[in-house]
């Protein structure tokens, strides 16, 4: 199926050139990295840019490294690169687990983490993990650089804090200071590739503190401070999970759509929260299923 909309294509070799194009074209420019969302939108006339800016030649967007407790993921790093990275698998296992649930190999070989959060669909698989690891989104424009906490990044369905003249250069995650177990539970219609109908991610620490975040259960992915408040300081148990589940219901606002009903999402949010936390705790103690296994509900 051809793309009928017409646009110019540029592939800047350096950042100045790229930023200049974005400052000139603003909303009418679209960044192309993996293209796995953009090209679908071009084909379906959902995007009609005047210029497509291929950012893959920008060296500033490369790089996947952990320094001083901060993981830097360049904007052109693909999900396949994340999955292949020992650092991600070892130190940020929830991001690793979530990355494995994004589409399929042939898509992940091009699709980037930065692209995933720029598309900003409520079901973005990577978002709950980024929330758990206190991620910040690094942006750049001719006006300068910004660091945007992931909590402020998503502003609504398919909406972000990115300004028209800006591009995302990287995402940075903070290594939790202590040992942890984690999990990303995803609700899908089957075990194959699917968009999340709900996602819960959790980290569990030896001191009985927890971090919890969700996607696809509200207009934007988010951490769950109320759930964490209920959990923190206590050992997991049936009663605690019931209370945490109740707290979760106050933090999510799922809708009914073609993929799932609100009723089922509410039900599953609680079920997944319990299972996700139990798995995270089990993994903390070296038990439970391996990362990347048994996390599709």
């Amino acid at each position: 199926m051809p793309i009928t909309t017409e646009f110019e294509y540029v592939k800047p070799k350096d950042m100045d050139e790229a930023l200049h194009v974005f400052s000139l074209y603003r909303e009418k420019a679209r960044a192309l990295a993996g293209g796995t969302d953009l090209i679908v939108h071009l084909k379906e006339n959902l995007a009609r840019p005047e210029v497509v800016v291929d950012v893959k030649a920008l060296e500033e967007l490369a790089g996947l490294d952990l320094k001083g407790g901060v993981l830097h993921i360049g904007a052109r790093v693909t999900f396949s690169e994340l999955i292949a990275s020992a650092v991600i698998k070892g130190k940020f296992p929830v991001l690793w687990e979530a990355s494995l649930t994004v589409a399929s190999t042939g898509v992940r070989n091009r699709a980037t983490l930065a692209g995933n959060i720029c598309s900003a669909v409520p079901s973005a698989d990577s978002a709950p993990a980024l929330a758990l690891y206190d991620a910040e989104v690094l942006t750049l424009s001719v006006k300068g650089a910004r660091r945007i906490p992931i909590a402020d990044w998503f502003t609504g369905p398919k909406k972000t804090a990115l300004l028209p003249e800006e591009i995302v250069t990287a995402v940075e995650l903070k290594l939790p200071g202590k040992k942890h177990g984690g999990c990303y539970m995803k609700l899908a219609r089957y075990d194959g590739e699917d968009l999340a109908q709900g996602g819960i991610a959790a980290l569990a620490f030896p001191d009985n503190t927890y971090r919890v975040a969700f996607c696809a259960l509200g207009p934007k992915p988010s951490r769950c401070p109320a759930v964490e408040a209920v959990l923190n300081g206590a050992k997991l148990g049936e009663k605690l999970l019931v209370k945490a589940g109740e707290a979760l219901l106050a933090e999510i606002s799922p809708i009914s759509d073609i993929r799932s009903s609100k009723e089922y999402r509410l039900h599953m949010a609680q079920v997944m929260l319990g299972r996700c936390l139990e798995t995270a705790v089990a993994r903390l103690f070296g038990k439970g299923p391996k990362y990347g296994n048994g996390n599709i509900c």
């Binding site: 199926m1 017409e6 110019e8 294509y9 190999t105």
Partner: protein, 155 residues
Amino acid sequence: MKPHLIQFTLNGEKVSLTVEPSDVLLDVLRGRLGIKSPKVGCDRGDCGTCTVLMDGKTVRSCLALAVEAHGADIVTLEGANSRKWTQKLQKKFHEKNAFQCGFCAPGVILSATELLEKDPNPTAHEIKEAIAGNLCRCTGYEPIVEAIEETVKGK
């Protein structure tokens, strides 16, 4: 719109041609370069039948602009036919009557080739993961998975 002259390697041969920015790689391969093994299936990255190897990695050629191929090394099944793992896989696929209509076969074979070139001893789960993005409506996948497993075991 400004056309672009692109040059890339296609199945080991240098090609150069002029494309529009909106031209999709799959359409250029099929329509302009006579390469027919990547098929049009869903045109939005869901089915995997348009799979090609781009710099050694499987990508959806329906989700790539042709201009992005500039400077790349692109291999389709026509070119992969001479690769070691592709040939081993094909032998097994043939033996086991692994495909029916055959429309998904080029994509499946390239996905399996990518996997085995990276890791000749994948687990059963990794095999499935590698071809999970290649939809097949005929076979129920069983003979395909078995053929890859047997290729790995060198049976």
